[in-house]
Structure formats: C-alpha cells, structure tokens
Amino acid sequence: MKKIINIIAFILLLPFPVFAGDTDISETMKNSIVYLQISYYGYEQYQPWKNRDLTEGFGVGCAVAGNQVITTAYNVANAAFIRVKKADRNDYIQAKITVIDYECNLALIELDSNSLGKPLVPLIFSEKYKKGAGVNFYWLSVGSQMYSGRGFLDRAAVDSSTISFSQILTFVAAGISDSTASGQLYCLDNKPLGIASWSNENKEAGIIPAKVINRFLADVKDGTYNGIGSVGFEVSRLLEPAMRKYLKMPDDLQNGIYISDIYTIGTGSDILKSGDVLLSIDGFELNPYGRFKHPQFDIISFDYLITNKTAGEKISFEIWRDGKKQLIETLVKNFDVSRMLVPWYELDRQPEYIIIGGCIFQKLTKSYLAGRGGDWQGKVEPHIYNYLLNEAFKPTGERKEIIVLSYCLPANINLGYHNLSQFVVDSINGMKIRSMKDIPVALALNPQAKYDVIEFEMEQPAIVLDRSQLNSAGLEIAKNYGIDKLSNINP
C-alpha cells in the first residue's frame, strides 16, 4: 500500500513537460504531417507585366481530412506550384490551394487523390490553453524524417500576421528549441494545439491556435467561405477624466473605449459613430484600453470578439452615446482586402495596370509602395502615403481605388512627360476615375477629340496624348521594353 502511495506521489510531483515528452508521438504524426515544397512566382511591382525570379520554399502541412492539409497562408502566398511529400512515400504528390485566408493566415490544400496512396489521418485540434505548460512541435523533412522540438506556452495574445490587418488570437510559445516555424504542428498533452506562424530571435514562436483553425474549417465546410469578422472602426484609449466628464459619463462607469474613427467597410461601420464609447461586446466589458477579461486567455484585445466570429453571425455592442447607454445588435461583416481603397496586399494575382502612351498607371496597394525597398514609409510621396495611412479602409462609391501614374517609359509620344511620376489620377477626358475599370471607359469618351487628357491631383501638370499615335506608339513601346500586354485590368 505504501508503495502505491509513493507511486502516486511521484506521478503528481513530476513536472508536466517531462510527462508529455515521455510519450513520443513522432511515429503517429507521420500519418498526419506532410512536407510541402512550394515554388513562388510573384510579380514585379514596378514592372507588373513581369514575373519575379522563381524562388523555392518549404512548409509543414497538417492533415484535416484524408486528402487535405492546412498550413499558413503566408507559406503559400504567390505559390506557382505546390508539391507534397508524405512520410510513407518517396514521390511528390501534386497539390492545390482550395481556400486561402490571409487574415487568419490559413490555407487549405488539397492533395491529388490519384497519387495520394494511403489517406492521411486527420488531426483534431483541441481548444485547450494552459499558460506555462510544456508544448512539443513536429515537422517532417523532405527525407521523411519526423523532427520535434520543445517549448512552453507563454501567453495568449491578439495580433496581426506579417501582412494582415486583422488582429487574431495567437498563442506565443517561448523557449522553443527550433525556430523553423512555417506551419509546424504544436501539441499540448500530445494533442494538436495549433500551427506555427512565426518565430523570432528571442526563441518565441507564434501559434495559430485551435480556435482559429476550427472556425476556419467549420467555415469551409459548406463550400462557401465567409471569412472572419473584420473590424470596421478604430479605437483610442479613454483615460482622460476630462473626456469622461465631457461625455457625461457617470463616475461609476469606468469601462469603455473611445471610437475614434469609422471605416466605410467592416463590422460596426454602419452603426457605430466616431465619438461613441464602446462599453462591451457580447456582454464582455471593455476596459479603457479596449481589452477584456477572457475566461481562458486572461486580458486580451477586443478585436478577438469580432475576428473570432464568422461573417454573418450576430454581435451586440453596448455603447455610450448622447449621454446614455444603448445596446445595438448587428451582423459580423467581412471584407476582402481587394475592397479596401488601398489594399494592404495583393497576392496570387498579377497587379493591375494600364500603359497609355508609355505612361504606366497602377492601382495603389501597400505592396506597390513597399516595392520602394527598406524604409519605404519615409520615402514614398506623402500625398500617396496619406491614402494608405488615413484612407485605406474608407472606399466609397465615388472612390473605390486610387490610381497612380507610376512612371513613363520614355518614347517620342510622351516627350516632355518623362520625369512625371507618382501622381494620383483625378480624371481622364473629364471623367472622375473611381477605379482601374473606369480607365478604359474614360478613354473611349469624346470619340471626336484629338487628345486623351489625364489630369492629376495636387495641381500636377496634365498629360495630353495624341490619340492618333496611341496604337502605333503602344506597339512600339511594348516591343522596345519587352512588354507582353499593355494592360491588366481585372474584370
């Protein structure tokens, strides 16, 4: 009897990580984890008719069905070709992306069933969270070897990924023994916890947790992907006693965050107003920093209460407006990045452009500006940067996209305009330009007119081009500068 008691005491005293590590699940994981080989083939931002040089990368795929794996969206951004290697086979299996969502940084990849062989064993992601607990992570090498590493769960945070604008739930593992990231499978108590999205020099890794993955998989299930809730407003902390007094908030009302800006897209954009105080979302009280107490994850940002939902779900906001509390209910909204006035990224497709008389017009995106290289924020023309910084989330019917004159490919037709660049297009042939699609329409206006006239914002000089020369000049410019097509405007 004493012996039994001793054994129980021993088990209870053992620190958890050692316990978890005792059972090696590497062999089992070989049935569910695959190696992804990705060839990337994006486009040049400043010569958008040209592909960038081919590059190669690798990632980890985690099975969610017999022939489906998930990985991070960032792993397969601008992928031209994806090959998959299973642990039990030497040959590559062709694969394609079926759903990709850069906002929650997840991609669903389907493996070619004909060359799949034995189906994969789907993983069930567990929504457990234990602060401080040991975690193991796994990835498969190209040589079919299952690697593993260790760390511990340090915190739950609400953060954006490398390119996304949405703040999503992220677990951070600290003291990790390998910093490969790229979709490695993290396990807690030998149960799948999430997949790695980033790592840093401080031996930390970001994990896309089960909650985010399971929402994504549930959303995918019916064949229509709705996406996560997008936040449709900006907040600013509400600490100043003078401001609370001005807003006539009673002394006992200490919570709430100030709504400092409203977008034209996203959740709450149609019902919230600048100057409202957001007191709670779905019953969770927000503190003056916009954070709330989550039963599992402690104090985290309010964004989670929106980005953890699927577009179309109900959401309720309790606000302070006109000196009183109000409860408003609405539906969670999602917007695709392409709906932004200045999209934060444009991936997996050719950037939109049109070349008129050698003058290159492009749609303004963050990726376009980032093409200027390191410290681009301090280099780009402030008038253009202002659209990204202050207007990006505010498209309107009159202004859906910002079109810029990128630069001119010197030719006789544009003599005198060679040095013009980085101007924002206001109108063409008298028609206000709302988006790329307007340009061909505007160019067809006034058929009797001798010239196309392109006017810009900020009192920049206009560009006047002789219509009778446009076709021949276009052909010559395309030949001279090696351009296969003079425009790429998405339908």
Partner: protein
C-alpha cells in the same frame, strides 16, 4: 617695339591689380554661437565656437557669410599681423543668400585697411584666388583654382533657397567661408560651401547675388529674395500638350501649373498659362532665358528684382497672347521649409502642453535622417502645404511639440507631434491663436482638435489654469506664452 612697350605696361598694371595686399582687406572672424531649441523653445542649445573669414568693402563694412554669424552670441574681428581683437556685431544678415554685414564696435579697426571692390560674373575657366582662414590658422591662406561652371544651385544654409553659384576647383574648407574670391584684383565671389563627397569642388556666391543683398540693405533693413509665387512645368516639348493649350506651333515657353495662395500672381496668372517672355527675355521650353551670356532659368530675372519691384510677362491663355506686370513678393509657404536663425522661437506652454510653430527647425530635431523619420502628417504638410492649405488667413501650422508631465496632461501623449486644427472650434492659424484661446477662461473645457485625429484632447479649463503656474515653475519655463507680438 612701341607695341611691346605698351604690352609690358599693360601687363604690369594687370599684375599690380591682381595682387592687392590682402592682409589689409581680409579679416578673421572668431565666433561664438548658440542656437535655440525648437522643441523646448525657451532653452538655448549647446555653445559652439568657430572661425570664419570676411573682407572689408566700401563704407566701412565687413562682408561675410550669414552662416558664420547666425545664432551669434559673440564676435571678434582680427586683422592679419595685428594683435588687437575687435568685438563686433551683425548689422545685416540675409540667411536666404548666406550673406551678412558685420561691423566692429570700434571703428579704429578700419585704420590702415583697404576695401575691396567687386567685379562681374567671371568667365568659366578663368583663374581665381580664394583668401581666408581655412581650418583656423593665424595667417591668411591663398589657394588658386579655375572657375568650373556657373549654375543655379541650393544654398545649404537655409536648405530651401537656390541662387546662382560659381563652382571652382580652388580648395574651399571650413574657415574659408566668407572669404573673398578674387579675379584681377576684384572680388568675384564669396566662398561659402563645398561638396562633401567630391574633392576640390568649392562654391562661391557670385556678385549678382552680393549686389542684390547690398542694394536690399540700403534702406536699413533686409527684405530678402522674392519669387513670382507660381509653379512651372516644362511640358511644351510635347507637341500634343502645346496644341492642347492652343499655342501656335512655333511657340517656346513654360506652363504655369500652380498659383500660390495670397501671392501677387493670383490676380495675374492662371493654371495652364504659358509664359513666353519675362521682361525682354525670351523663355524657351526648358524655362531658360539667355542672361549674362549664358542660358539660365527665368528665375534669374526675378533674382535681379527687389521685393515690390515687378517683372513684365508675356503669356498665352486660351489661344490669346497677353501681357501683364507681376510684382515680386516673398511668398513664403505656410509651412516654413527654410531654416530659421537668430530669433527665439515663439511658443505657448499651457498646462504642460508646449505648442510651437511647425517649421524645418522643429523637424530637424529628429536628427540626421529627419526627412524619413518625422511623423507622416508633418512630412505631408512640409512637402505639400501650398496645395493642402486652402485657408487664406493661415499664417502657419502649430504643433504639440512636448509635454511637461503632470497629472493634468497624463493622457495627452497620443497627440504629441500632431498639428493643431482648432481650439473650441476656433481655427488655429498661428501660435498667437493658441495664446488667445487659452486666455479665454470663459468655458468649461478646452477642446483641442488635431489634424488626422477624430478624437479631441479635452482639458478642464478651470483645472488647467489652476495647474499652469505650478507646472511652469516646476519645469523652469520663464513664461507661458512667447508669441510673435512679444518678439
């Protein structure tokens, strides 16, 4: 034989004229400087000492560079081979052309000296001598070089002005600044700046600019170089553009793309006017005219005018040829992009919030790479204020530069470096407007709205006034407001 004699005589005259005794004309200027702090504007920054050069000109004046004697606290003049030090003051200073006139307090300084006279714009490839005190030293140094080219270029002292400069390969080093560049015994320029990345490229201010400065100060004050208040575009190289503007095929000229708010050009010129002549100079498609025997930008005509004088313009508008007179004015942008010197910067420091005028000096407090490091809104205004500002009454932009921490302003840090738009819905168009707004105690709150920020900064008016003196005292601020009216 006779001819030879005359030739020798002429040669002797030339040699005599080319070698005046420079020790009687070139002076050493020892200086102590202390600029103002543009973030904490009631303070002055560190003290610096240096040496520059200057030279005596007619009328018992000493000409030197403005950058030698800007933000000056103390000046001493020294003559070659004379032990006595002569304290001096700045009589006139033109920062935009980097020239200044210094005068000793004791006029016995001019005993046994010789003023230098001025020549004209030198020919390229002529040999000139530069005199001064490079890198300190006790004796006048002379270096010889040739004139490499003459063109319009930036004057780095203000960072925002451009005038004609003469480039020479004579070494111009720190300390040379303000010294004369001499050709055939006459001053043809004032040495003033060099090029860091290049060997032996030095620049001098030509006599065209010096003459403008000397003529300007004749009335007892310096007004500066003016402009026409327009932006121009060299677009007529394109025949379609020319035809679109209804210009005759053989027209040469330059097109107006922007007319500055409150400039004299507002009533004279319009966008898309094409200027073909300025005074009697024909303007070409690059905006160049033939002046001083060379092609220079048409602004060279404006450079010859004093503020208030006019130029005659011939221009085309909607197919019609027109003429008009246009007055030359200062036309400074509401966001001052030229570096300022000498005057203490105006400010308002209320409830621990320090407001200053947004200008280049303030932006340069961000350090070497300030252009890329400054906050976006300030960079936007600096670069585009002529297009962005539609308010005729705006004098300047005001920015919250610093917060002197106190419970009163504990949560105001999110507004730092933002330009102020209104206080209690009254537009802030100058730093004086901020002072006036806070002088008004007849309100419960001060509601401060900043650009690109929907959320206002709120202050309890009564509390703010109560706390103000204690904050000023704690942080040794001499006065809560120092605005233009008090300068």
């Amino acid at each position: 034989m006779k001819i030879t004699a005359i030739s020798i005589l002429l040669l002797l005259v030339t040699i005599c004229a080319a070698k005046p005794d420079m020790s009687k004309s070139v002076v050493m200027i020892q200086i102590v400087k202390q600029p103002f702090d543009y973030t904490t504007p009631w303070k002055q920054t560190s003290i610096a000492q240096g040496v520059g050069s200057g030279f005596i000109i007619a009328g018992n004046r000493i000409l030197t560079n403005a950058h030698n004697v800007s933000d000056i606290r103390y000046i001493i003049l020294k003559k070659e081979n004379v032990a006595k030090k002569y304290p001096a003051t700045v009589e006139f200073i033109g920062h935009d052309c980097d020239l200044a006139i210094v005068k000793p307090t004791d006029f016995s300084f001019f005993e046994n000296t010789q003023p230098l006279s001025f020549g004209t714009l030198p020919q390229v490839n002529s040999t000139v001598s530069t005199y001064g005190f490079p890198m300190g030293g006790t004796h006048i140094s002379v270096t010889e070089g040739v004139i490499s080219r003459i063109q319009t270029d930036a004057y780095v002292h203000t960072g925002a002005d451009a005038h004609l400069v003469v480039q020479t390969d004579a070494a111009i080093n720190p300390g040379n600044s303000g010294g004369p560049v001499v050709l055939d015994g006459n001053v043809v320029g004032v040495a003033f700046q060099g090029m860091m990345q290049a060997d032996n490229i030095g620049y001098m201010i030509p006599t065209t600019v010096i003459e403008h400065f000397l003529l300007d100060v004749n009335d007892g004050k310096y007004d500066g170089f003016g402009s026409l208040g327009i932006m121009l575009f060299a677009g007529l190289h394109n025949e379609s553009y020319k035809d679109y503007l209804k210009l005759p095929a053989d027209t040469q000229g330059i097109v107006v793309t922007s007319v500055m708010l409150n400039s004299s050009a507002e009533n004279v010129l319009q966008i898309n006017d094409c200027i073909t002549q300025i005074d009697n100079y024909d303007v070409d498609n690059d905006g160049m005219i033939t002046i001083y025997g060379q092609k220079y930008h048409l602004s060279e005509v404006v450079e010859t005018k004093q503020i208030g004088q006019s130029v005659n313009l011939t221009f085309w508008r909607s197919g019609q040829k027109q003429t008009a007179q246009l007055r030359v004015q200062l036309n400074r942008p509401v966001f001052e992009i030229a570096r300022l010197y000498d005057n203490p910067p105006p400010y308002v420091c209320f409830a621990g919030l320090t407001f200053v005028t947004a200008n280049r000096n303030f932006l340069e407090t961000w350090g070497k790479s300030w252009i890329s490091d400054i906050p976006h809104t300030l960079r936007y205004l600096m670069s585009d204020s002529p297009q962005l500002n539609k308010d005729r009454l705006r004098k300047e932009y005001v920015v919250l530069a610093e917060i002197l921490p106190d419970q009163m302003n504990a949560y105001a840090d999110e507004f730092i470096n933002k330009p102020l738009e209104t206080i209690n819905d009254t537009p802030v168009r100058s730093i004086s407007d901020v002072r006036k707004a806070f002088e008004n105690k007849d309100c419960e709150f001060y509601i401060l709205k900043f650009m690109n920020s929907e959320k206002p900064l709120l202050m309890d008016a009564r509390q703010a006034h109560q706390q103000n003196d204690a904050i000023l005292k704690k942080y040794n601020v001499p006065s809560w407001a120092f605005t233009e009216n008090q300068l």
